[in-house]
């Protein structure tokens, strides 16, 4: 029987989504103020991300994330201050020491990493993580996330093929927002669904409404249970919306139709989750408002703190290239 997302966790997930949303909006604003060099928004992906993480165990599982996953990262226990240090390249940025774009690198508290901006490179790396856990008999699952665009890369194909052969404890979590920057799905693939590709690799593929925390939790939990019991990988395709352009450097009105943008606006996962919780009686209007106010305040306080911090300094420019080799060589 499929495990359901418990009612008492739903408000918790919603809280993380709202916090991520305000932080995401703030990153965009800081870019427009000339303070944040770049941001890639996760707005529209939040429900899928928090529900996916909820189905896993951050105390032992591994997460190879990608550049549009602010809500997932918040769900894994990072703070707004930490993320703002990334957006603003401040000293003490936890994942790369501000050598990389926001939330790239590796996190000190959770096994979550994102080495690169190059699409799909994390996918074979995730298979390596999962393979090494399997060889040592460790009870850990690896979740690798990516967008629909990544599924066109050879690394995605090569890895799904390999993961199927070795029945790796690996979840391929595709957040399908139907755009690879500007290229729509019908120019990325001749088939209807990314999930259907799993058949070619010998493991299940499931397409799910990525605005539903309940549905995403259920399919991910099933995949995690399957992986933990040694039955191998699952490809999950969460259908989400990209509510903002690709990044702060993009203008999606150049390539998205008005009808498409209208349709998208009706699938905002924060509104959908709010309605779900209100209709289930898990939240009152007043409590919902309080969640929003609290998140907004948290982001404001964090922004005030981090904006006054210094940029990551030049003294760390040359270290951590290799263990023993000086950069001057």
């Amino acid at each position: 029987m499929t495990a359901k997302l418990p009612d008492d966790r739903m408000v918790h997930l919603y809280r993380t989504m709202v916090l991520s949303r305000y932080l995401d909006e703030r990153s965009w604003l800081l870019n427009r103020q000339g303070k944040a060099a770049i941001a890639a928004s996760a707005q529209g992906h939040e429900a899928a991300q928090v529900a996916c993480i909820e189905a896993t165990d951050p105390s032992k599982d591994h997460y190879l994330i990608y550049y549009r996953q602010l809500a997932a990262i918040m769900a894994l226990g990072t703070t707004p201050e930490e993320m703002l240090r990334g957006f603003l390249a401040k000293e003490g940025e936890p994942m790369s020491g501000a050598r990389q774009f926001p939330y790239h690198g590796a996190h000190p508290r959770v096994d979550m990493f994102n080495f690169s901006n190059v699409i799909a490179t994390q996918i074979p790396q995730a298979a390596g993580v999962a393979l090494s856990d399997k060889l040592r008999g460790l009870d850990a699952v690896t979740v690798v996330s990516f967008g629909d665009g990544a599924t066109s890369q050879g690394d995605a194909h090569e890895t799904m093929n390999f993961a199927g052969i070795h029945k790796l404890p690996l979840i391929f979590f595709c957040e399908n927002n139907r755009y690879a920057i500007s290229v729509p799905l019908n120019k990325q693939m001749a088939i209807e669904s990314v999930a259907s590709r799993a058949a070619g690799y010998g493991f299940p593929g499931v397409s799910v409404d990525g605005t539903s925390i309940q549905d995403v939790f259920e399919v991910t939990k099933t995949a995690v249970d399957r992986a933990r019991s040694g039955d191998g990988p699952t490809l999950i395709e969460a259908m989400v919306e990209r509510l903002l352009p690709h990044t702060t450097d993009d203008d999606h009105t150049r390539y998205r139709s008005e009808e498409d943008l209208e349709r998208m606006s009706k699938r905002d996962p924060v509104s959908i989750t709010s309605e779900l919780l209100l209709s289930k009686g898990l939240l009152t209007e007043a409590e919902d408002e309080a969640i929003h106010t609290e998140a907004k305040n948290q982001v404001n306080i964090a922004t005030d703190t981090v904006e006054n911090e210094p940029f990551a300094g030049v003294e760390n420019t040359l270290n951590n290239v290799t263990e023993s080799i000086e950069p001057s060589l």
Binding site: H62, L64, M95, S96, G97, R99, Q100, H104, G105, A106, H107, P108, F113, F115, S116, V118, T121, I123, P124, Q125, A126, A127, G128, V129, A130, L131, S132, D133, L135, R136, G154, D155, E158, T159, N161, F162, I165, N316, N319, N320, V321, T322, E323, I325, P327, L329
Partner: protein, 327 residues
């Protein structure tokens, strides 16, 4: 002290490293039942099992990406690229990803992995089984590149690579696998990465080289000695980081430098060595820094006559040595 050819030294080193450290695993094409196309892993699947000796699909990016993921998760993988010519699909995982892990995570993650790459020509390998691919890796901060040319060095440098806490590219010249034999102590030892070695002392000029060319240069140096020219032969052994001090020390002493390589010359190891000499030995030089390499054509044609025309040879090297000595 047993005599081993270079491929035997590679095989026995990997075998002993796998025995001493369970986190060492091997991934590559045909490394399992076949034992590798050069038999580098002959008998390994029987001894270590298919969990640690992993026959991968034909997918080089996958091999290196999986090795990287395993490395950051506590293993010490050895990825085998079957022929250097096939490494290009994996460049993104190696140069773009692996090299930057320590820097890009500010030291939180490291990639203790070894990438073994049989390279080089003179084996009738044509355009796609002969390439020298060292330049791109040697240009890349975060990577370490070694190119052992003797059985002794192969054991010591491969052991150092496997035990290193960073990614190391190990370039093994295919022609040396069975051509080169030498004494290899059976006891455990390592050779520090980043140290060149004088393989033949001399006073009149220094030849800087690496890989198969070391053996051709040593032959040429013998012939030169018969004509009264004492050549010092410096084997780089590590291509990144280059052992600048050994290059400078030798060339400052002899006053003349010839750099010999099998790879084409433009923007190559020889370019970097020449730049180091120009920067640091200027006032000690008695002649121009010279280089010998193949012509600027895609390495390397299949016909035996064309291949011989392409490859530097002991004869061509001797001519270059005599020309420089006469200046």
């Amino acid at each position: 002290m047993p005599e081993q050819n270079l491929i035997e030294a590679v095989r026995e080193t990997m075998r002993s490293e796998m025995r001493r450290d369970e986190s060492v695993i091997i991934l590559g094409e045909d490394v399992g039942a076949h034992g590798g196309v050069f038999l580098a892993t002959d008998g390994f699947i029987e001894e270590f099992g298919e969990d640690r000796v992993i026959d991968t699909p034909l997918a080089e990016s996958l091999i290196c990406g999986v090795a990287l993921g395993a490395a950051v998760n506590g293993m010490r993988p050895i990825a085998e690229i079957q022929f250097a010519d096939f490494v290009w699909p994996a460049i993104n995982q190696l140069v773009g990803e692996t090299a930057r892990v320590r820097y890009g995570t500010n030291g939180a993650k490291t990639a203790p992995m070894t990438i073994r790459i049989p390279y080089g020509g003179g084996v009738r390998g044509g355009l796609y089984h002969s390439q020298s691919i060292e330049v791109l890796f040697s240009h890349t901060p975060g990577l370490t590149v070694v190119a052992p040319a003797t059985s002794y060095d192969a054991k010591g440098l491969l052991a150092s690579a496997i035990r290193a806490n960073d990614p190391v590219i190990v370039l093994e010249h295919k022609r040396t696998y069975r051509l080169v034999k030498g004494n290899v102590p059976s006891e455990d030892y390592t050779i520090p990465i980043g140290q060149a070695e004088i393989k033949r002392p001399g006073t009149d000029l220094t030849v800087v080289t690496y890989g198969l060319m070391l053996h051709y240069v040593l032959q040429a140096a013998e012939a030169a000695a018969a004509e009264g020219i004492e050549v010092e032969v410096l084997d780089l052994r590590t291509l990144r980081p280059l052992d600048k001090n050994s290059i400078v020390e030798s060339v400052s002493r002899t006053g003349k430098a010839l750099i010999v390589q099998e790879d084409t010359l433009a923007v190559s190891i020889s370019s970097e060595v020449a730049a180091i000499i120009a920067e640091r030995c200027f006032f000690d030089l008695d002649g121009p820094v010279t280089r010998l390499g193949p012509p600027e054509i895609p390495p390397m044609p299949f016909s035996p006559l064309m291949e011989a025309e392409f490859m530097p040879s002991p004869e061509k090297i001797l001519t270059a040595i005599k020309k420089l000595a006469d200046i």
